[in-house]
Symmetry: C2
Subunit: 204 residues, 2 copies
């Protein structure tokens, strides 16, 4: 009875806040969320499938896509390029599908500029001490890298007011509940609904 354009949900976080796990869990719960396979110039890791994990492209191809304005956001991280296809997002939204993207804070800013009606969600660890502990437990970074990530997290956390929602990730289950609730609530926002009185007169 209601027709609507899809909503773009963008989830961002300083590294270590747990956004990847959170987004994966929410996709399992909210099964009709679309997502977009990112483009990258980095080499595939063992087991990664082109077109499914990433669209693996050369730097030349990447720049060609980018220069044609085909990316909704892009960034260079540790010498590799990453991007999200604008066409994939635009198509899903036009079909009324909601899209959930898991994007760094740089990318989130670009997405906000391109999709002003997007819903931006910021995830933070309960404290910097907790964040440090999680980065250490992950065991994938050396001391220098952990220090660098913590400094960057401190800068990124100050961006929280640019987001629509803030989730303090104390507990994964609770954080998944909150992110799911945000999606459910946004779907009921009158500004996102196109509805006429006539719709209400036709029984479903």
């Amino acid at each position: 009875m209601t027709s609507r354009r899809g909503t773009l949900f963008v989830v961002s976080a300083p590294s270590g806040a747990g956004k990847t796990t959170l987004c994966r869990e929410v996709r399992l719960r909210v099964s009709d969320l679309a997502y977009s396979v990112s483009f990258t110039t980095r080499a595939p890791r063992p087991g990664e499938v082109d077109g499914s994990d990433f669209h693996f492209v050369s730097v030349h191809e990447f720049r060609a896509h980018r220069d044609r304005g085909e990316f909704a956001e892009w960034a260079q991280v540790h010498g590799n390029y990453y991007a999200t296809s604008a066409v994939a997002i635009d198509t899903a939204l036009a079909r009324g599908r909601d899209v959930l993207l898991d994007i760094d804070t740089q990318g989130a800013t670009q997405l906000r500029a391109r999709y002003p009606e997007a819903v931006l969600v910021f995830i933070v660890a309960p404290s910097l001490a907790e964040l440090e502990q999680r980065l250490r437990e992950r065991g994938s970074d050396g001391e220098g890298e952990i220090d660098r990530r913590l400094r960057r997290a401190r800068e990124e956390i100050s961006l929280w007011k640019q987001y629509d929602y803030l989730i303090v990730n104390r507990d994964v289950k609770e954080a998944v509940d909150q992110l799911t609730a945000i999606i459910t609530a946004e779907r009921a926002r009158t500004v996102r609904l196109t509805l006429t009185l006539a719709d209400l007169e036709v029984p479903n």
Copy 2:
């Protein structure tokens, strides 16, 4: 780690849409919601307790409260006066408690004017045909009253764009989930959070 002013949630609906049941169920699920016992000039029904079901007052007392600006909203329905205390709401909000009120559309408009930051939720039955059936099943109204309520519902439904959220009450469980999600999501809205970087540095 976050301090905030409470949020006022106002749930409104044309009669028969199911808002009373919905609010009762949501209060059971979200146990920390405050509410406000309404004032009325109508006579208590058997079993109703003064101060718990309603504050039963005389027309004279009611007008005195109203004229001193002590009511956040008031209305005259079927010759009786009804009102919500502003003091009760203001106190709860100042203490950081969220308040859930179940109020007619007239009252919702008054609350919006007094509390611009309130969250207004509109509940509708899936169709006017369904609404008519529910009013008949309720069995409390004669034909003339049902017609009058349906005409009024048609007028009220046209107000939906003045609300922040619209819930189409097809199924009580689903509607309760949606209203609960709206409360959870609004609690995570950055505009409602007062948070400093320092807060994030103190482990909880």
